[in-house]
Symmetry: C3
Subunit: 217 residues, 3 copies
Amino acid sequence: MPLNPLVTQTLSTTQTAIEIAATAAFALSGIVEAVRKRLDVVGVTVVAFATAFGGGTLRDVLLDRRPFFWVEHSWYAWAVLVLCLGTGAWLRSHHLAPTQQAMQWPDALGLGLFAASGTQIALAAGMPPLIAVLMGVMTAVFGGVLRDIVCNEIPSAFRDHRPYAVCAFVGGWLVVGAQWLGLAETAALALGAAGATALRLLAMWRDWRLPGMRIHR
Amino acid sequence: MPLNPLVTQTLSTTQTAIEIAATAAFALSGIVEAVRKRLDVVGVTVVAFATAFGGGTLRDVLLDRRPFFWVEHSWYAWAVLVLCLGTGAWLRSHHLAPTQQAMQWPDALGLGLFAASGTQIALAAGMPPLIAVLMGVMTAVFGGVLRDIVCNEIPSAFRDHRPYAVCAFVGGWLVVGAQWLGLAETAALALGAAGATALRLLAMWRDWRLPGMRIHR
Amino acid sequence: MPLNPLVTQTLSTTQTAIEIAATAAFALSGIVEAVRKRLDVVGVTVVAFATAFGGGTLRDVLLDRRPFFWVEHSWYAWAVLVLCLGTGAWLRSHHLAPTQQAMQWPDALGLGLFAASGTQIALAAGMPPLIAVLMGVMTAVFGGVLRDIVCNEIPSAFRDHRPYAVCAFVGGWLVVGAQWLGLAETAALALGAAGATALRLLAMWRDWRLPGMRIHR
């Protein structure tokens, strides 16, 4: 079921724009966390890189896929470098860091897009459905996990009882379902990304909580 | 020195059974640790996966070996997922978690089997003996290391002064020795796995301690 | 601009000697940190391996380059094993550990050499300049980062406000510049390694500090 070329083109431009916004949001969340932990400028930069590129890199290592996207488009790395230095200068001259609240929008977009595109890439590499969905979840979540491990904390995605990875998981299955129904790749991507993002925003808005696993006493 | 086909068949069935029990034991040890650290349901699941599949995955990444066993047999991933949810339900309705004691048996079996099979796979990939043995040790131990790093602890395998990795190391050398003597692969595997497991059980029973490395004052 | 063969030969022997000294220095820094954290003999050995081989291994995984250098030259692994046991015996019978001060010389040499050779290997694999330099930095720095993560600390390279990764970064760009100017590979390597090492020693001698990134209040 091929889409109209104009629609595809628009979606593709939109995807690139979201991807850049999402990578920037992930990098920023790394910068904010690293500054909070009083890392030096090197530490802040490394954490920004790890948060922004960690998920996609793990996916590509597991899929044995080369070149990495940050090798193919090495201006991504330049952009993160500039973002780090720019944020550093901004933080020195202003009294306000970007609030957690302000960053949740691009972060939710990135979560959805990376989950959907990670799932799609893994499906294209011949992974079975569950594995492809888990690869999508990794793509979306592993950067933040790496950020927290380097900052010597238990990853917040694993203990804050908010649906985050779960939204990526649902988005991944939407992609699998859409491709199984024969939808075009771009449509499947859009559906999965929109689904995961919407679910994440809904979860934040309604303040949903994940159940813990507790031992009764 | 080929073995009787019936023996080989029996050994292979036994190996699969041990492998499943061991993977389940590793996953369970991840679940218990994650629950103790009050992770949410996502964190518990991720730690279970990391503990169960981490060692074999690291080995396969280092050997550049694809597909991963959890990609080839994706029901493994389903099984761990079901195990997590099942354990969650069990913990909510029962007052008892599986005791550390009860889990040491399948854990020791898994240690031996993963060490021996990891060594054998690395030898088959053309690694020199020491490297192959170290790959076997990694296969057996890295899952638990990953579990402890994610839970923000120094890995217990590195500081509890109990022989654990050392048993895997000995088991790996048994495999190397057996293959060097010309034994069949299945026999070498059985010998290495049994040796490492027996040594581990013996070490727990006799309460053996590893020497520390301390700076005299 | 090929160098005189005798010069090349001398440089190559020097490089091997530095490489061995640097690997030993990295392994020693792992041992000292692990002993300080009261790990057992297994933990000390693993941290020594991770510190010595972590950087080069990450580089080779990212570049999809096999065999690893510690597979090709498996006596490296034997040497680290012997170093661990020897240091253990030494620490039991002597009152002195190698001081941090004494180890900073080979560590600075290793930093320079690994940064330069990592950059060169990445350039040879067709990476763009910035990526190649970052690979050089990783080669030089990731071992120590892994050491600190396993020991459950925020990596010192990220928070001690001393130029360390920055020196590797500069050394990497020297290699890129030298190759771009058409210098022989050996000369580029020597230049980059010497530059990074000199910068590191200078930074320690003059007690330079990196700026932090702080939020004004």
